[in-house]
Symmetry: C2
Subunit: 699 residues, 2 copies
């Protein structure tokens, strides 16, 4: 979407313009006048002039078709006036008024729906409603009714995009304190017309924007966000996000004032990972990521050297970096020896490096210590603890080292006395807090290192059978057959409906075997005693058959399709793989160890589809329980590659099935010893009844 008329307008009308520069309709007029914006047309039927400018009685009398109309009217008056603006050919509007979907009331929701309809019908680009407005520092255009963004602020290349006006102001102030300067500040409001991902898409192509930091409550269109993020990566621009709603109460609070879909937290995590965005765990972290991006070309990753005048500070930084997932590699022996030669007395040189308080007697060796600490190829940057006077006394030495190295130096000054501007001029970063520094360095370094993986190509190797109308689930046998067509190995089974066929089927499958009742209406068969393990002879099979059929026949409204017999497999490790549909991002794949592990320990990994076998193997290896697959306590190593292929095939199957599917799970997927494969012992396929002609709920 071309947002130039909104974000880079050549002419602006303010409808509801006020003569009072403190009122909502007066602030943007005041800001734009002070910014020297020329083609500004206040619209106010009651005044001859507004803040010294000629006022126009209505939009029709404004002498040109403006790029942007700022609507400072009440919610009720807004839509009728927008129709008039559209009739004049105005391409973009910014709506300040509240009283829409954020009220959570029928009246407000109806107002927003009408606005959405209007935007869809006319193609007019509508920002808001309930939006604070924006600031374009590059071109000095201020359309906000907030006072935080003033003409005269230096322009920069970071864009700030938030779904909350207040967090917009908070982040702007926090980042400005750190020294970040901005190209655009954008508050998306209720996103009736233009949504966050539209702004990101625009900014990805904005030559004046090198990074964007986003406060996100909910995304309306997951795929659109992923596309915008991909454009950021392709352009080498930083996209950093903070997402609120990780806790139940936080999510509840978020949803109460957004009209967006409620996506799953795991899906957001998976989507952000897939998108390759940098992730801040705290709001201030967004400002810190924007700040670090100003040193971005010097930062290659998050392998850190720590150089400190205090052993304590070195240890604290090492802890904080490790906690946040960075590495503090032990330096090579020759580098350690060279450092030991430089530093008076004996101290730790392995990394962290302790220069000790001896620095007060001699600063000269600091330059060489920094050079040495940054010299190993696997060191991405240096954290330098030199608070207050220690840095002031050795600043030239540090600056010389920065000039000589292409890698980043980040000073930590817990005394908060450093001259940040002078440091910035030499390409040196500065934090006042150990943990904020560590969090930012880790998140930024990880972003820099991890290229977003290109989604795997969809193999679409097979097709699903036609689903009978009204079915909401496949039987286990049907489910396994369908998945087998996509390349998932499944346990061979025999379905027995008549007791007389039992012995022949059991001989075909072989002993020991497992007998399971088959019904589309019973999900948790173990708990109902409808799975019998390790049956070793014909009598045991017959007894199990009779008992399970009796039990199932006693359950009301349950359809019985028979009993399957399967070989009782021994050895191997059970894992599970399932795909559910997230309302924002679509298919979400979950991989975990056997049920108890996933349920009690939350030891699961999520990813958006598609996932290829390589991606599936990375998911398995990220599990805490992976060691169970990797030859734990002398057991044979499991066939991880086969498991990964089966998981990838599951994902392909789900993508091929599309909207007809609701959920597909293989549980357990039995991973046999290496070379013996991985087989789906049980599978569940739930169908999306709505996509079928007849709908019937299970009993």
């Amino acid at each position: 979407m071309n947002l130039d008329p909104l974000l880079k307008p050549c002419s602006i009308a303010v409808v509801g313009a006020s003569d009072n520069p403190k009122r909502i309709g007066g602030v943007p007029v005041d800001l734009l006048i002070r910014a020297g914006f020329e083609k500004l047309y206040p619209v106010n039927p009651k005044n001859e002039t507004v803040q010294g400018l000629k006022a126009y009685p209505d939009i029709e009398s404004v002498p040109e078709v403006v790029d942007l109309v700022i609507m400072a009217l009440s919610a009720d008056a807004t839509l009728p006036y927008l129709e008039r603006c559209h009739a004049r050919g105005i391409p973009a509007a910014l709506v300040y008024a509240a009283g829409y979907a954020e009220t959570n009331e029928a009246e407000g929701i109806a107002r927003q729906d009408a606005l959405v309809d209007f935007a869809n019908r006319t193609g007019m680009r509508i920002a808001g409603p309930n939006a604070m407005g924006n600031a374009n520092f590059t071109d000095a255009i201020f359309t906000s009714f907030g006072q935080s963004f003033q003409p005269g602020e230096p322009a920069g290349d970071c864009a700030l995009v938030t779904q909350s006006g207040n967090m917009c102001a908070t982040l702007f102030r926090t980042a400005r304190r750190a020294g970040v300067t901005f190209s655009h500040v954008i508050n998306t409001g209720n996103e009736a017309g233009i949504e966050l991902s539209d702004y990101l898409d625009y900014l990805a192509g904005d030559p004046n924007t090198a990074s964007a930091v986003c406060y996100i409550e909910e995304l309306r269109d997951g795929p659109k966000f992923l596309q915008a993020a991909a454009r950021f990566r392709a352009a080498g621009k930083l996209l950093a996000v903070f997402k609120v709603g990780a806790s139940e109460k936080g999510a509840e609070a978020t949803r109460s004032h957004t009209a967006a879909l409620a996506g799953d937290a795991a899906a957001y995590d998976a989507a952000f990972a897939r998108a390759g965005v940098a992730r801040a765990g705290e709001l201030t972290g967004l400002a810190d990521l924007a700040y670090l991006h100003t040193l971005g070309e010097r930062i290659g990753g998050s392998n850190c050297a720590i150089l400190s005048i205090s052993g304590a500070a070195g240890a604290i930084l090492a802890d904080a970096l490790a906690l946040n997932g960075a590495q503090v590699p032990t330096l090579p022996g020759d580098v350690q020896e060279a450092l030991a030669d430089q530093i008076p007395g004996h101290s730790m040189v392995s990394n962290p490096i302790d220069m000790t308080g001896n620095i007060v007697n001699d600063n000269e060796f600091v330059t060489e210590c920094i050079r040495l600490a940054l010299s190993p190829e696997d060191i991405d940057l240096l954290l330098l603890y030199m608070p207050g006077q220690f840095l002031a006394n050795a600043q030239e030495q540090v600056e010389r080292a920065a000039a000589a190295s292409g890698k980043a130096i980040i000073v930590v000054d817990t005394f908060a006395m450093a001259d940040r501007e002078r440091l910035a001029a030499h390409g040196i970063g500065c934090f006042e807090d150990f943990d904020r520094a560590a969090r930012a360095v880790c998140a930024y370094g990880q972003w820099k290192k991890a290229g977003a993986r290109a989604p795997a190509a969809l193999s679409a190797s097979a097709a699903w059978p036609a689903f009978p109308a009204g079915r909401t689930a496949l039987s286990e046998t049907e489910a396994k057959q369908a998945l087998a067509a996509f390349g998932v190995s499944v346990v061979q089974d025999a379905l027995v409906q008549d007791r007389e066929d039992l012995r022949e089927a059991a001989d075909f499958v072989g002993y020991p075997l497992v007998a399971k009742l088959v019904s589309p209406d019973i999900a948790h068969k173990t708990e109902h005693g409808l799975i019998r393990l390790n049956l070793s002879n014909a009598d045991a099979v017959a007894e199990a058959f009779d008992e399970m059929m009796d039990k199932a026949q006693s359950m009301p409204g349950v359809r019985i399709e028979g009993v399957t017999l399967e070989p009782m497999l021994s050895g191997g490790v059970e894992i599970l793989a399932g795909v559910t549909r997230d309302p924002v991002f679509g298919w979400l794949l979950t991989v975990g160890m056997g049920g108890v592990w996933t349920e009690l320990m939350k030891d699961a990994c999520h990813s958006l589809l598609p996932v290829d076998a390589g991606g599936a193997e990375r998911m398995l290896r990220s599990l805490k329980g992976f060691r169970l697959l990797d030859g734990y306590r002398g057991a044979p190593k499991a066939d991880v590659a086969a498991a990964a292929r089966a998981i990838a095939a599951l994902g392909d199957a789900v993508l091929a099935g599309g909207d007809a599917l609701r959920e597909v799970e293989i549980n357990p997927l039995l991973v046999l010893p290496k070379g013996q494969g991985a087989v789906a012992v049980d599978a569940l396929v739930l169908l999306n009844a709505e996509s079928q002609s007849e709908v019937e709920e299970p009993a």
Copy 2:
């Protein structure tokens, strides 16, 4: 230890006093003169005067026996001079010099050992060496060579105790920025004489100290720390700690410059929990805890109400509080209704409460909103998001609410514009960052709520058998017999040494059974194939006996005591309980689910001994895997009470065994269905060879 001569001296001599107020020997003279300290005696044989005061050529010529001598001499010169000070009857000394154990060199370590010997021999109270000195703001006594602590700073009731001079200055500045004022600032240095816990013990009894915040690298004497912490709690004083060394690299860096014992991180966690101290996860958190303690009487716990002018801020705070373990309870219906009546328009009132931007039109309802939000009994405090001008405009309304309530109000002002002093004068706290506020509120509230549990009384119900000299382990049978004497139920077994006795023993135990090889020299029997499960007849038992004996006889240097037969128990849930000895804190009890859970998932809980059955049950319930004991997926509930009694009995047994023991473990402890008890299936007792007359290492 009475530290008045060190921390509250009436007279001070400075040996090595310098005329230059910037030099190490000059700083304390300068500070003390400026603080108006009267009985100050510079000792310097080369000068007639020092900074305008008469100088004395040596300690012997100082006209009175001073309380404290500050030693500003080199490391080599220090000890001989201390002997002279002791000869004059001076009770306390502060040693600035470095060059002791922190160097990690033999020479320095020997110097420190000599200093320790001197302190032990003479009883002289020695602070340091390698200490920066202290500041007593209450009495305006400055003994530091650092410039961070200046006369004229306001005195307060927080004590700062650190094991690093630099963190001392960092914390002091951070806390002062928050508005905290101090009674004492203490840097412990190398702790050759007086250690951190001695200072804490003194401060617990100091009437001018209401709280202490500690930066800790390593503790030298765990029990002494626990005693000092208990005195803090008994006096209603806050003791807050930050411990460095959580990561491998952090611990390595810490140990390289302390001469203390290396305690286990889990033991520190257990000790801090037992001690009932407040725990900061970040260094700045210590300053924030000290700051919150100034509002302490208003804060009852960490159940928070959130009142905000921004739905986003409410959600962010709810997330941050939940992440850190606080609660955001849903408000009662009548309170919600009353809030909805107060707040213009419709917004969220369940908690978080969203006042919306309507506050700009009317501030008056803020007072009543605060009253309502704090009215439910289960709400401990209010987090109030009103940044910048929003607070400035409604400050009187907030102050009226604070005056009317005994509970705490914590303002979060992300615009960093609040008048903190004015707020403090009204008993209102203020943070500028969502997450720092949440971390501090949670840690402080949890400390306030959790009374340290009094250690359980030791029942000492039995005694251990005499351990034969030279043994380093008991056999499984011996171990289970010994634990049974303390009340642990154990699996009845029969030890068979002669193949001819096998059938009779098996008939006695009953089929199916488990056979295990018994040897004091083999720890992991499963991995060696020396445990055979589910043997269902005499032939199977005989075959297992032969194979295991052959296998064991082929292992070099292994003593074989025979094979035990035990009943093969079915049902029940396996857990483990073990006790190891931490060098700092003594016995550390670990409780976890079966081996894989504890090893791969780190799902274990630790506690210092003693632990009674109630404490053991709390440990079990804190495990993620506890649901496996609690009737998971339709299984019968396990006998948790019996398991807890067995764990407590294990603890009692270990305490009774004392120094003769090295490690005792029950693994597995099989917890049977409720009412059927919990039995130790296997037990390991390792003996402390050093405490016995003859020492013999296992083969």
